[in-house]
């Protein structure tokens, strides 16, 4: 039986890092899934993302979240990053569970949509939809916290899913 769900790369940090990069992502899959179980070295932070080293204002997102007592939805347009977490943001303990789905990432015709779920029972749950206004196939994913650094022991794994 053909394998349809395969690990592309994994990174468990042996020391604090300002970012994590998955590069040379093969175009042989249909979709990508990023699993994170991460923390930051101090304070709290959102996990942000850029694709193919694009630092332009080519991203937007709409988000829904709750902190256990209140809910909120909002959006941002023409920003220079995608937002992987929201209410389920990173703290100094590895209590976060994140899932990001990159749909049809290797086509060269359409803009790319990324759905994310961020979960941290200590601060909340979030659901984001991100858009990268580029028709390029995704070959590099950069993850970084908007404050501090990713803490030692943080784990990130990128999987590829094949439709054929």
């Amino acid at each position: 039986m053909a394998s349809t769900y395969e690990k592309i790369a994994t990174n468990t940090l042996g020391s604090a890092a300002s970012s994590v990069t998955f590069s040379s992502i093969p175009s042989t899959y249909t979709d990508l899934v990023l699993i994170s179980n991460a923390a930051v070295s101090s304070g709290a932070a959102q996990m942000l993302c850029r694709l193919n080293s694009d630092t332009g204002t080519n991203y937007s997102f709409t988000r829904l979240g709750g902190d256990g007592s209140t809910t909120e939805s909002s959006k941002a347009t023409s920003v220079s990053y995608m937002q992987i977490t929201w209410f389920g943001y990173l703290t100094t303990t590895i209590n976060q569970a994140g899932i990001a789905n990159f749909m049809n990432y290797s086509n060269s015709t359409t803009y790319k949509t990324v759905l994310t779920r961020s979960n941290n029972a200590g601060n909340g749950v979030g659901a984001n939809v991100n858009l990268w206004r580029s028709t390029s196939a995704i070959n590099t994913i950069l993850l970084y916290p908007d404050a501090s650094t990713f803490a030692t022991g943080s784990n990130f794994t990128l999987y590829g899913i094949k439709a054929a």
Binding site: S3, T4, Y5, E6, K7, T10, I35, S36, N37, L64, G65, G66, D67, G68, S69, T70, T71, F87, G88, T93, I94, N95, Q96, A97, G98, I99, R117, S118, N119, N120, A121, G122, N123, G124, V125, A127, G153, N155, T157, Y159
Partner: protein, 169 residues
Amino acid sequence: MATTYTLISSVTVGSGGASSMTFNSIPSTYTDLCFLISARSTDAGGGDYVVARPNGATTNFTFRNLASYDSATPVSENGTLEFYTPIPAAGGTASTFGSTHIYIPNYNSSNYKSASQEGVNERNSSSGALMLNANLWSNTSAITSFTLVTLFANFAQYSTAYLYGISNA
């Protein structure tokens, strides 16, 4: 290429229902666990909840969620229940089963165990519910078993649960 997404075990509830669905001796050879559940409760009300207990535990849980009940404004709740989300029950629309997805990263680690969960009770009438949950089990033990129960009653016949292991090796 190694297989990374593997069925560990599944349960299908038979005639008469079942008070629980149990997954024992979960191997430590994977990185993450994923449950896909289709379930219905025998409770006389219109809705119930599927409750997942790692290692059979009933304490040291916290959650925060996003929840939608019928047409009401969505809410966010917090509490100390185990991993839980809504499912239909016998008092509601016949033949409807709720879908639940639970993802548990790094279930073998010595950290506390976090989980992403979502589930629904959609039954073409009032009292439907949708939940997105952030779960935490504050325990450093590796997860070696799971017990699934309902909050109020038993699982109805034809309820199913599939447990998958995901490996990043």
